[in-house]
Amino acid sequence: MKFEYTISNLDFSTAGEASSNIKKVLKLLGIDSKIIRRASIAIYEAEINIAIHSYGGKIILYVQENSIKIIALDKGPGINNIDLAMKEGFSTATHEIREMGFGAGMGLPNIKKCSDEFSITSESGKYTRLEIAINI
């Protein structure tokens, strides 16, 4: 099964909708609540990252027999140094964004903790692509 959600840049009123929708879908499919929690956290953080740090993008979810696969793909500006971006506490969020409670530099590490497989690829100026899998 495949589901796709579009995420707009700096649209905080709808940011969080992909993850809530997906949570409902996974519940209906009878997926274990611990797995749902991990998927929800990962998707929320990926969605907020697209809204805050990118020019917009999408989240694609595949529910397969043994795993949930999530792809978060955006239109850039990309991540220059992925190792640095993965460090807890590292954030390039602006002052305004931080005042809203984002920008703790915990999102990517949270996503990694929630995943069984995790990879990020990015090309400066072009895209960031996050792909994770959670075993069911």
Binding site: A15, I41, G101, M106
Partner: protein, 107 residues
Amino acid sequence: MKINQLLENKNFKLLNDVPSLDEGITYIRSCDLLSLVMAKGEKGDAWITVQTHSNIVAVASLLEISCIILPESIKPEEDTLIKANENDIPIISTPLDVYKIMKEFSF
């Protein structure tokens, strides 16, 4: 403690409409960094935050947090209350500060 028991205390006022206040509060957490709440928050937590935008409802709903408490008479945005109604998340306002709120609880 259940949410309706908390609301018997006149310092705590419910700001929105939710179908049930029978939910138990099992822990109380104060944090304004959303991704930290996302990492540590648990089902049943009462969450104290000074953030007022609608994304707090998304976080609370994903984690199945029992209620959001806004300290020191902080007012939520209109949008936040609408979203909280849609997601059945109680938003509670109080003039108390974080320490005094926490003193109301014992687990």
